[in-house]
């Protein structure tokens, strides 16, 4: 979830890496630094660590492209530009190489069998280029620009982009959005915003049946993007009990 205040934006995310019913680790940082003044919180498949069929965004890909722009042009991208770039990547991937729409047409005398063979080869081949499948990650991008202050962008997994003051993804969003609607004001100070985030975390912990135990909170303001706090109720157990 994310909140914009006066001259800053706060993003909080749970820190559990889950695979169906199993919790891999509960201190995984899902909020990445895009550059010195931008944060990206990505929820969905844990894709940028290992190869998985089903479509994954490489947040690192966006990170590197943002850096590339800075190197090429000498000035960093604005948050709006970075958000639109990310949205463009997601939108392109959304309609690229889906099995239904791509039908290779081969016009030879043995048209039927070659067509079938090509289709089969194509299907095999496309399992090797997983990157082309639609991404299934939801993104909240927070950033600070000197000209326009702090901003928060909500990017859906189907590439819906919207600039928001408060946003949330996942099952927790049902609870946290309502809490934020009640208590949010547009000129909150850092303390008040953290209080609001804590209220949301409390709500999630008490009402969500699969509530994640730990959360990380990061802040971005004119001094840059940085870790703010962790809210841990379960520490990672590193050794088994004997």
């Amino acid at each position: 979830m994310g909140v914009v205040g006066k001259g800053f934006a706060i993003v909080a995310a749970d820190t559990s890496a889950v695979h169906s019913i199993m919790l891999h680790k509960n201190n995984e940082d899902k909020i990445m630094l895009l550059d010195s003044h931008k944060l990206v919180a990505a929820s969905g498949e844990p894709g940028d660590r290992y190869f998985e069929f089903g479509g994954l965004i490489r947040v690192e890909y966006v990170q590197k492209n943002v850096s590339l722009y800075k190197f090429r042009n000498g000035i960093p991208l604005t948050t709006a530009a970075a958000a639109n770039f990310t949205r463009g990547e997601l939108a392109t991937a959304l309609r690229k190489l889906s099995f239904a729409s791509v039908r290779p047409s081969v016009k030879t005398p043995m048209a039927f069998s070659v067509d079938f063979l090509v289709s089969v080869m194509f299907m095999i081949f496309s399992t090797l280029i997983i990157d082309q499948n639609p991404y299934s990650v939801n993104i909240l991008m927070a950033g600070y620009d000197n000209e326009s202050g702090a901003s928060l962008y909500y990017i859906d997994y189907i590439a819906t982009l919207h600039k928001v003051d408060k946003g949330a993804f996942g099952y927790g969003s049902y609870f946290s959005l309502s809490t934020m609607d009640t208590h949010y004001r547009s000129d909150m100070s850092v303390g008040e915003a953290i209080e609001l985030v804590d209220k949301c975390i409390l709500e999630i912990r008490s009402r969500l049946v699969v509530a994640p135990p730990n959360f990380v909170i990061k802040i971005v303001d004119k001094d840059g993007a940085r870790d703010y706090a962790w809210r841990q109720s379960v520490q990672d157990v590193t050794t088994a009990a004997v």
């Binding site: 889906s98 239904a100 729409s101 639609p134 590439a159 928001v164």
Partner: protein, 269 residues
Amino acid sequence: MDKSPMEAEATIYLLCGKDNKVYLLKLQKGNTSWDISSFNLGFEPRFIFSARKSSKLCSANPNLPMSIFEYNGSAVVAMVGKNCFAIASDRRLGVQLQTIATDFQRISKIHDRVFIGLSGLATDVQTLYQRLVFRHKLYQLREERDMKPETFASLVSAILYEKRFGPYLCQPVIAGLGEDDKPFICTMDSIGAKELAKDFVVSGTASESLYGACEAMYKPDMEAEELFETISQALLSSVDRDCLSGWGGHVYVVTPTEIKERILKGRMD
């Protein structure tokens, strides 16, 4: 009738009346003609409505019981007045049952005399809008003038039909002032079938209520202020009956001399 070619499993029922009879027409998937049955009524019926069996769309998200066009929720309407037009939309951006934002922009200005309102899936609304602005800017550079609304409508139709077998899941409403300040409105379905109209056009999840409201409230040759009142009332009363659209309204009234943009506050829910 059925605006979405993707809904291949829908059965369409049409109930209409004429000459003391009520006809029930049924169009099933795979059939190319309507099955008609009729009942004799004692009087001349004065209604027409249709129902559509909700269709299941095959998609990656298993929690999608409704159509992909109803994923984000939208309502757009355009009306013609005397040498002016008005185009209005709701402001809700939702993800199925959840509201994400209440200030989503569905109507965009292409140039001073042509506006396009896009309803349907929000991501395609944004992608399509960017493509159209790009094409119009190129046109402006090449032709050194703005596009006429009729031309623009043909452009949108062509762009949508390019994606015939993987369409942009949105339904545009185009409104503009043509030659001699004559207002022009049209809508099309997601693959570019144009529907020109002389009075009003609607699209979105609230389209059925909008048809009713507009039909009741519309009068030909309204001036700009009266047109604004009419379209606002029609929009607000229709979105009140649709849970997926609402949270206020955004109205543009365009005359040859000025563009007036107004935000409406209706039932905020």
